[in-house]
Structures are given as C-alpha cells and as structure tokens.
C-alpha cells in the first residue's frame, strides 16, 4: 500500500517533466537581434554520391574560410530533398542555406519560405537566361546556380570505329547506329526511363527538340518524340530495362561495354575517365532533322536563402555570394564536371576543357523545365513519367499515354 502511495506522485511528476521537456523543445527560441550577421549557418543539399559530396564539401569549406562562417552541412538523397524542405517549412526550421534542383525552386518560393537573393547584394547579371528564369518567381530571383548541366550523347569510339559508323547527329542516324551496334548481348543505346523526375528529364530533349510544348503534352510533335523512343526499345536497339535504369545504371551499362551509346550528363566524366580502357566521345543530343538545334532540359542546383532569422539570412547570403563567385564557380564546376552558370566563365572553361564543349553549346539553347508551367511543372512531370513507361511497356500507344497524362493534369 505504501509503495503505491509514493509511486503515483513520482510517476505523475516524471510524466509532467517529460511533457515540459517536450513542450520547451517546440517553443521557438527568442528571435535574435537583427542587423548583425551570424557566425554559423546550416546548409542542406543532395550531393550524396561520394565524389560529388566530397567536391561540394571542399567548396563549402573554402567559402567557410573566406567568410569566417561555420557551415553545418546536412545531406539527403535527391528525392528526399523536397519532402525534407516541406517538413522543415511546416515546423519553421528551414536550413539557412538551401541547394535544390532548379525545377523545384519556384515551387518552394511560392510558399513564401524563401527570400530574394538580391536582398543580400548578389548580382544576377551574366547568367544564362534559362537558369535565371528557372530561379525567378513573380519577378524576383530566389535562386542562382553555381553550375548547370544538360544531357548529351556519349559514344564508345572503339565500337563505332569497328562498325564504321560516324557519331549520329539526327534521329535517323541514331536509329540506324543503335540498330547496327546491337547484338551479342550488347545494346546500341542506353537511357533512363524510370518513373520519376529522372525519366522525364531524359525524355524532354527529344520532346522539346521536336517542337513539343509542356502546356500541351499530347501534341503530335510530342507523340512523334515518344514514338521514336518506343520504336528503339521495341526494335531491341535499347534494352527494355531502361524502365528500371537510373542514370547511374545507364553509366554502368556504358562503362561495362553493354551499351555502345548512352544519353547522360556531364557529371559522369570523372567516372568515365577513371576507366582508362574506355575511349569515348560526346556529341550533342541528335535532332529530328539535319540542321535542327537540340533543346535539352536545363539541369543544375540553385542556392537559395530560406526565411529564418535576419542574422542567419545575412550570413547565408554571404556564403551564397561566395559560392557564386567566378573563382569558386570554376573550382566546383571543374571538380564536378558542370557547365559554369555564367556565360563568360563558361566560354573560358570551354577552352580549357574541350570535352565539355558539347555540353556548353547545349546549355546555351537549353530550356528550364519550369519555363512553360512554372510551379505546375512537378505534377505534370509525374504524369509524363508514367506516360513514358506506359508507351515503352506497350500498355498504351504513345498517343494514348500522352493523352492520359494531359487529362490527368488538366
């Protein structure tokens, strides 16, 4: 009896203590006095592959030294970045500095959780128009990229040489080359058509180069583009496994010699160069007709400063400004094989690294994924990803599949 008597108050006290602890944890601390600049900030990015992560860390370290600001870094996988940001926005615990994929920046800016980069004296001149547009929401620039990228066609020089084939520049060339290079357990072409943003991003160069428009995904031009890829797969010139290959898997297929050509981005150069036995070349994405200009989707991460507290925002602005300086831009883009986002820096870079030429040329005519639809891009991209899969599996014809995607997002 006596034990029960003192047990109850102790238990109640313990629970009360637990509650208080939890409640204090969720009350926001006193707002820091404005005007100054914090000495430490938090940063969130999705560079999780060993190489890219190390290169980005070096870049952050260097800007930490230059600005005297300590940067606490957090990384999440690519597809977890947006959910993480939304959760943080809900609990008002956003990172001070955010590196996010450029098609998501307008979406995040639309919530009101970001501040314009111009608030921190960051100049927006000299950038490729497409990346500037991608980072602009309702007339204000919320995100700027240190480096951009696009997709091109990689080819195995030995395999093409053996078959006496020139690197393809048109769709007809590509189809013929892929068909001839297929055989003996090898496929002519590898690309990624996974049901996510990655798959849509790989399809868009074909879609846009043929005159497609995201505001009308079931147009005849779009259907022809999807039909082209579908034919490549059904003819066996590309493996049906493209449905499950992410871009990293595509690189592995190319490196191991199981694919003679691949659609991929410049960030693979380091990995390809590491294999000394592999001799490869890069040409721009083949176009529907001779003389057409390829229109690839613009890739690359933009830096943004979320709304946190004035001191931390100022500090984050300083770090972002440092990351965007021409010197750091060059270092990072060289380390990660990206195209500098400023036209003048890119031109200088192209002279130094000729293998990046195709990418630099393409970036000049690249289109940002949010150019046509703004914050409505993401739902459409999801529907388009499913449409691509429906066509490639043969569940629907390209026309039916695209029609369904248009209907689902209308």
């Amino acid at each position: 009896m006596s034990t029960t008597k003192w047990c109850v108050p102790v238990l109640i006290a313990a629970v009360a203590a637990m509650c208080t602890a939890m409640c204090t944890a969720c009350t926001p601390g006193p707002p820091a006095a404005g005007g100054g600049s914090a000495t430490s900030i938090t940063e969130l990015d999705y560079y999780t592959d060993a190489e890219g992560s190390a290169a980005w860390q070096q870049n952050l370290d260097s800007c930490g030294r230059q600005t005297g600001i300590t940067i606490a870094r957090q990384q999440v996988p690519t597809d977890q970045l947006l959910p993480t940001v939304l959760r943080a926005a809900g609990s008002h615990s956003l990172p001070n500095l955010l590196m996010t994929d450029n098609p998501t920046i307008q979406q995040i800016a639309a919530t009101g959780a970001l501040t314009p980069v111009t608030d921190y004296g960051i100049a927006t001149e000299g950038y490729y128009d497409s990346i500037l547009k991608a980072g602009t929401y309702q007339g204000k620039v919320y995100g700027l990229a240190p480096g951009v990228n696009g997709l091109a066609l990689f080819y195995n020089k030995d395999m093409l040489g053996e078959a006496g084939i020139q690197p393809p520049s048109t769709w007809d060339d590509l189809r013929a080359a892929a068909t001839r290079l297929t055989g003996n357990g090898r496929y002519g072409l590898a690309f990624s058509a996974v049901p996510s943003e990655e798959g849509t991003w790989q399809f868009l160069p074909f879609f846009w180069s043929n005159g497609g428009d995201l505001s009308q995904v079931d147009s005849p031009q779009a259907t022809v583009a999807l039909q082209f890829l579908t034919d490549l797969v059904s003819a066996g010139a590309a493996s049906k496994s493209v449905l499950t290959w992410k871009q990293d898997d595509v690189t592995n297929q190319f490196v191991s010699g199981d694919a003679a050509m691949m659609i991929n981005g410049s960030w693979n150069l380091n990995k390809l160069d590491a294999d000394s036995a592999l001799r490869y070349g890069i040409v721009p994405i083949p176009v529907p007709h001779p003389g057409d200009t390829p229109t690839v989707a613009l890739g690359g991460e933009v830096g943004a400063v979320p709304v946190t507290n004035p001191d931390a925002q100022q500090a984050a602005g300083k770090v972002l400004s440092c990351l965007l300086s021409e010197q750091n831009m060059l270092t990072w883009d060289t380390a990660h094989s990206l195209v500098p986002a400023k036209t003048a820096v890119a031109a200088e870079y192209g002279q130094r690294y000729p293998q990046m030429r195709s990418f630099i040329d393409e970036v000049a005519t690249a289109k940002s994924r949010t150019a046509e639809l703004g914050e409505k891009y993401q739902p459409l991209s999801t529907a388009l990803g499913t449409a691509i899969q429906s066509a490639l599996t043969g569940r629907q014809t390209p026309a039916q599949a695209l029609h369904e995607a248009a209907k689902a997002t209308s």
Partner: protein, 318 residues
C-alpha cells in the same frame, strides 16, 4: 427470525466488505492510471496526433503552400471523392490486395514448413536457423537493391539461371504482368524469417508427450501435423497472420526500391500511390485520403482479429 437475522448480518458484512474494497480499488485505480500514463502520453503524441493531423489534412485542400502558411481551406469529402474516382484507385486497391495476400500466404506457408523442418534436431540445425534470419536483419533498401539487380532482364542472375536451363528469360521488372509477382517474391523472401521464428517458438511450446501419445495411437506424420500441430498452433498462427497483415499492407520501401511503383503503375499499391499523390502531384489532401483508406482497412482487419481471438479464448476457457 434467526434466519432473517443471519441474512441481514450477512448482508451487512457484505456491505462493509464492498465499501472497504472500493476504497482500496480507488487507490489501485490511481496507481494503474499512473502506470498507464507514460504509454498513454506516448500514444497520444506519436500516434494520435499524427493520425488526427492526417485525418484533418484529408478534409482540406492542402498544397505545398499550406506547409509554410498553415492555411488550407476545408473541402469536405472532395479529396476522398477525387481519390475514389481516380482511374488508378481500382488498380492500386487490387495490387494492394494481391500483394498482401500473395505475400502472406507464401511467407506463412514457407515459414511453417521451415519451422516444422527445424523442429527435428539435427547437426547444424541451430546455425542454419540463425542464418535464415539474415534477410530480416538486412536493411530493406539493401535487400531491395540486390533483388533489383537479380531481376535485371539482361544481366540478372535469375534470367542467367533460366537461360542455363534453356528456358526463356522473364521480363521481371519491365513487363506490367511480371512486375507485381517480382515484388511479391522479394517481400516473401524478406518475410519468411519472421514467420519462421514465431512459428518455431510456437511449436516448441507444444508438449512432446502429446506427439509420443499420438505416435503410440498409430497417428502418422501427416495426422500428427493435421490434428496436433495445427490446432495447438492456432493462437500463434493468429498472431503471426495478423502481424504479417499489418506489416505487409503498409509495405512501401520494398516496392519503392525494386520498381518505384512502375512499370507504368503496375506495382502501385495504396501506400506508394499515396506517396505519389502527395510528393509527385502535390495533392497532399488526396494523398492523406488514400492513406486514411488504408488505415481504415488495416483497422478493420485488426478488429476482426481481436474478435476471433476473443472467440478462441472463450472456446479455450469453456
């Protein structure tokens, strides 16, 4: 007179007894509450709150903006209507049922067969049984990724094996008909150890004297299994199937890693579809609605189980 007096006395005594026991019961009641409180607080904070939030979200037009501003207009049942009318609802529902039933039937069947097999003592049996636990210890993302490689149409080990046997390779993850069996296969492999361990524990609790008696009565192996093992294993079976159902119906990571819901939505279950509605289409209200439908189904199954368990207990008591 005496009789009634005794009766009254007895009544009195009973009366006081009740009074004093109700006093001590009040004390034990407080103590019980004290012991319950931590669990209650935990449930309310980590289960009740998110659940309520999810229910509230499903009745609102919750957009990306709502996360930051906290504003989401009430739309009544519109999210549920949109989910039910979505052409993907039927297929996702069917996939969920096929995935759950397919996984549980084989997980349980194989688990039970292995448990009976390991009941016999033989050299290396314990080591082998521990090794069989391995799939359960691996992170789901790891096993999922490995299975994805094994399923690869051109270079996967499964198709290499089929080719070696001069059989036609199977388009595991690239065909809309084969993808669902492929993810079910993966999930069966992951779930067998769980079934094996619990059922093996249940088997060991059956007194061996019963088997000896049955053997003396001339029962053969099948009769011993059918009339001894199965009925005596029934309570454990109920628990295993119930937990298996709850674990399987909410599987997300395995499908996400192996197929991502593809190809062409062929492996989209209610969980993956709910995720896609939320983070692919930014229709968070609809995603929450799809999630709630799943919770309703799981709850209904749980209640059914509790009822049947109560019936079993009552049978055992009578």
């Amino acid at each position: 007179m005496t009789v009634t007096g005794t009766r009254a006395n007895r009544g009195d005594r009973e009366g006081t007894a009740v009074a004093s026991s109700s006093g001590s019961r009040r004390h034990t009641g407080w103590a019980a509450l004290g012991f319950l409180l931590p669990a209650l607080v935990y449930l309310v904070v980590f289960f009740g709150y998110p659940l309520l939030n999810n229910v509230s979200m499903s009745f609102r037009d919750f957009t990306v903006r709502s996360f930051y501003t906290g504003q989401a207009p009430f739309v009544g049942l519109r999210n549920y209507a949109a989910v039910l009318q979505n052409p993907l609802f039927g297929p996702a529902m069917l996939d969920t049922v096929l995935f759950t039933v397919g996984s549980i039937v084989f997980q349980f069947g194989i688990g039970l067969a292995l448990a009976v097999f390991f009941q016999g003592r033989f050299p290396g049996g314990t080591t082998l049984r521990s090794l069989l636990l391995l799939p359960w210890l691996l992170p789901l993302v790891v096993s999922g990724a490995v299975w994805r490689w094994m399923f690869d149409q051109d270079h996967g080990i499964l198709n290499a094996g089929l080719r070696a046997l001069h059989l036609a390779p199977v388009p595991w993850l690239t065909s809309t008909t084969w993808a669902l069996p492929a993810v079910i296969l993966t999930n069966i492999w992951i779930g067998v150890p769980f079934n094996l361990v619990i059922l093996h524990g249940g088997l060991r609790a059956i007194p061996s004297a019963l088997y000896e008696a049955a053997a003396l009565d001339g029962a053969n192996a099948w009769q011993r299994f059918r009339h001894l093992t199965l009925p005596l294993l029934r309570p454990v079976t109920g628990v295993v199937l119930m937990l298996g159902l709850v674990y399987t119906i909410k599987v997300f990571d395995v499908i996400m890693v192996v197929t991502g819901g593809g190809p062409a939505d062929a492996t989209q279950t209610l969980t993956t579809w709910s995720y896609r509605l939320s983070f692919g289409g930014f229709a968070f209200g609809q995603g929450a609605a799809a999630g709630n439908i799943l919770i309703l189904i799981a709850t209904a199954c749980g209640l059914l189980y509790l009822r049947s368990a109560r019936v079993t207990l009552a049978e055992a008591a009578s």
